[in-house]
Each structure stands twice: as structure tokens, then as C-alpha cells.
């Protein structure tokens, strides 16, 4: 975690009031070029939104390297668990990471954690390169630099993502096994249980709120 002092240095906000932790997510467009001092070994999911923002705004290769060293091995492991051999998984993992660099402007921390977003890119790569199929995607909601993600929404979403991760880790072995099988591609859609038993109500409501806000801004 960043301390408040780190946050102040990054955001350049007034020192009168310590900024909410959510302010960490806002380093975009303030024109400051202060480099944050990052000397952590333990990553906290919440920091990734900021790292991705640095990649987007400053094409910051050091930030990219941090993201890479955390996620590239996981993407490769994920693809290998999905039945991909090591060399193709390596190739795809590199392509996924390159895609992150290119699509950094499309990351919306009020709708997905960094891990979630990277998962979707890795999954699409798997469909494209390994299953060799097209992936129909829903229409995008208009999303551009003129629309800042809501800070409170983004922070709440990160917290919900962490809670969900913890809840999945604590699922009974049998149930967790079925969910992993579904995501690693070992189950067809008709083999997936109708009741997943996953506690998704809260995170869904959060995302729904963020979508409603976005729709409202579009009007």
C-alpha cells in the first residue's frame, strides 16, 4: 500500500486534507511529472489502476515492467492450464502484454480490476490464437479521455474484487474445482452448473451503478 504521503507526492494535491485512497487512481492529466517513489515488493491490486494510467499517459516503460513481471507469468500459467503448450503460451502471454500497452486507454477501473481486464484480454487471445474462432463482443459503451472514471466507483470495485478473490479461495474444494474447470475450458456450456453458487451479487451491483453513471453522463 502507498502511504498518504506517497499519494500526496503523486497527485500533488493540497496537504490540508489527506486525500482519500481513491485519489491514488487519479494521476491522469494533472500535468505534473513527479515520479512516484515505488519501492514495494508486495503488490496491492489497487495500485495497478495507477500503473496502467502511467502506461497510458506517459508510455512509462518502468511501470510496464512492473505490470509485466506480475502478470505475464500468470497469463502464461493460465494459458497452460487451459491446455496450451508452453511455447505457444509464452508467445500469447507476450502478445497479451503488448495488447495491454496498446489498449491502456480502454481500461476502466470502475468496471474491472486490472487482473479482470487482463484476464479478458488473455481469454480473447486464447479464442483467437488457439481455438481459431472469432469472438463476438458486445457494443462498447462510449468511453474516452473526456470521461473520467468515478474515483469512488473505482475504489469500491477494487475492494469488491479482492473480496471476491478471497471468497473464491474459500469455496469448498469440489465447487472450486468445477469453477476452475469451466474457466480453463474443460467444461462445455451445457456441462456448467445452472447454479454456480458464486457470491456475485455485490460486485454486480457495483458495476451496475458504474454503468448507470456512465449512461447518465452520455445523455
Amino acid at each position: 500500500m502507498f502511504s498518504d504521503a506517497d499519494a500526496l507526492e503523486i497527485t500533488g494535491t493540497s496537504a490540508d486534507v489527506p486525500p482519500p485512497v481513491g485519489a491514488l487512481l487519479s494521476i491522469r492529466g494533472n500535468g505534473k511529472s513527479i515520479e512516484p517513489v515505488i519501492e514495494k515488493t508486495e503488490e496491492h491490486t489497487q495500485d495497478w489502476a495507477q500503473v496502467i494510467a502511467r502506461i497510458r499517459d506517459k508510455r512509462d516503460r518502468a511501470a510496464f515492467q512492473r505490470l509485466f513481471s506480475h502478470f505475464a507469468p500468470r497469463v502464461k500459467a493460465f494459458l497452460m492450464k487451459s491446455g496450451t503448450d508452453a511455447s505457444l503460451a509464452e508467445e500469447c502471454a507476450q502478445e497479451v502484454m503488448a495488447t495491454l500497452w496498446q489498449k491502456a486507454h480502454m481500461f476502466d477501473p470502475s468496471r474491472a480490476s486490472a487482473a479482470t481486464w487482463i484476464f479478458t484480454i488473455a481469454r480473447n487471445r486464447r479464442i483467437d490464437a488457439i481455438r481459431k474462432q472469432r469472438r463476438p463482443e458486445p457494443e462498447d459503451l462510449p468511453w474516452g479521455p473526456e470521461q473520467e472514471p468515478d474515483q469512488a466507483d473505482a475504489l469500491a470495485l477494487q475492494q469488491e474484487s479482492e473480496k471476491l478473490g478471497a471468497a473464491i479461495a474459500q469455496l469448498p474444494e469440489k465447487q472450486k474445482d468445477l469453477i476452475e474447470k469451466a474457466y480453463f475450458g474443460d467444461l462445455t456450456h451445457s456441462e456448467i452448473a445452472e447454479e454456480t453458487g458464486l457470491p456475485l451479487g455485490t460486485i454486480k451491483s457495483r458495476i451496475r451503478l458504474a454503468l448507470d453513471r456512465l449512461r447518465h453522463q452520455m445523455k
Binding site: F68, A72, P73, R74, K76, A77, F78, K81, A86, E90, A93, Q94, M97, A98, W101, Q102, K103, M106, A112, A115, T116, I118, F119, T120, R123, N124, R126, R131, R134, R135, P136, E137, P138, E139, D140, L141, P142, W143, S161, L164, G165, I168, I179, E180, A182, Y183, G185, L187, T188, H189, S190, I192, E195, T196, L200, K204, I207, R208, L211, D212
Partner: protein
């Protein structure tokens, strides 16, 4: 639109779409419904979060020693253009459907299947079939059973069958037990996207007349 939808995607369809294991035609129906429905868009995002959590938990695989440099080289090779985000669709049909037609409704190449009903098969992988159905107001699609799962998404107009009424954005999920007779509502012609995982049968082997209705 999004608040009037009553019939949504099931959890198992959303999970399979999130996992990336649905046949392409099914993915098209899911993507089209989500384009019209923020509730399912949010539900999908929560299933994606499950995928993110599972990936986060994967123990690290060893990368090649030059993996990072190789990735930078990849970026340098293609980083000229920032990819544009897909704009929302202009027209009647949701964007993912337009992508398969190569245009909006006026670009659909309909083929008559009798009694005023028309269809157009969309080019997806063969494990499942996607087609647009055009049902004139007040007309019925003759009773058809089907093997496997059939999804019917209303894009325009409305139909009713033995189960319920389905309006724009509603999706009916029917398994093989359901024999239904969708009837388009009076007032507007009904256009649906129908997908089924029963394979295309008989094509080219049996005289046309013997093909089952709608060639599914």
C-alpha cells in the same frame, strides 16, 4: 430499452461466455443481448472478475529470459496506431450482429422459408448455427422442435409463444424439451436472432424438400 427487458441470459451462458468456451454462434447471441442490456453487462463483468481472480491465483509460469525485451520489441513493431474503440451501432441491429451481416437490416440477404417468414444464416463456426428470422406481424413460425439448446433474441417487434411474451432485447432460452410456436405480435414485423447448437444436417445429401424446416 435496457429497463424493459424481462428475459435475460442464464448464469451458465454468461459463465461460458466469460470463460470463452461457447460456440461462436452462441457468443454472438450473448454479445448482442449484452449490447442491449446493462443488467447482463454487469453480470458478465462479475463473471469476468471470477476469471481475473482465478488468473491472479495461478502460480507463476517461468518465462523465457528475453520475454520482456521480446514484448517491448513487439510493442515497437506495432505501436503506430492507437486502436479505435468500436463505436456504438448506428441503425436497428446491435453492433455484433451488424458485424456478421456487414451492415444493418437493409444489408441482410433474406431467403424465404414460406408463409412470409424469411431467414438469413450468419457465417459462424459450424458447431452451432446463427440465423436472423423475419416473421411478419401476426404470423407464426411453424411448430419446430430442436435438438440441443436454442436461443432466440428479439431485435425488433415482439413474439409470444407457449412460455411468455418476448419483446425487444428479451432472449428465450429453450432446451430440447420445448416445442414452441412463436407468433409475431400484430403491429410490427418481428426480427429475431436465433441460434442453436444442433449441427446443420442434411445439407447437400438429401433433396431440399426433405430438409427439416429452417434447415436446422
Amino acid at each position: 430499452m435496457t429497463d424493459t427487458i424481462k428475459h435475460h441470459l442464464s448464469d451458465k451462458l454468461l459463465m461460458a461466455y466469460s470463460a470463452g468456451t461457447l460456440p461462436e454462434a452462441f457468443s454472438l447471441a450473448v454479445a448482442a443481448h449484452i449490447s442491449m442490456c446493462d443488467e447482463c453487462r454487469a453480470r458478465l463483468a462479475s463473471f469476468d472478475a471470477v476469471g481475473g481472480a482465478l488468473m491472479e491465483e495461478c502460480s507463476d509460469a517461468d518465462l523465457s529470459e528475453t520475454a520482456f525485451e521480446d514484448t517491448l520489441a513487439l510493442i515497437d513493431a506495432v505501436d503506430m496506431t492507437a486502436p479505435a474503440t468500436a463505436a456504438p451501432a448506428i441503425g436497428t441491429l446491435p453492433r455484433p450482429v451488424q458485424d456478421y451481416i456487414g451492415g444493418d437490416l437493409d444489408a441482410v440477404k433474406w431467403k424465404s422459408v414460406g408463409m412470409g417468414v424469411k431467414q438469413a444464416i450468419l457465417p459462424t463456426s459450424r458447431e452451432a448455427t446463427a440465423r436472423l428470422l423475419y416473421i411478419p406481424a401476426g404470423a407464426a413460425v411453424p411448430d419446430h422442435g430442436h435438438r440441443g439448446t436454442e436461443l432466440t433474441l428479439v431485435l425488433q417487434g415482439a413474439f409470444a409463444d407457449e412460455v411468455d411474451r418476448f419483446g425487444p432485447g428479451d432472449i428465450e432460452i429453450a432446451d430440447e424439451d420445448l416445442d414452441h410456436t412463436p407468433v409475431a405480435e400484430v403491429g410490427a414485423d418481428c426480427i429475431c436472432l436465433a441460434v442453436t447448437d444442433a449441427p446443420l444436417r442434411f445439407r447437400g445429401f438429401i433433396p431440399r424438400i426433405a430438409q427439416p424446416f429452417l434447415r436446422i
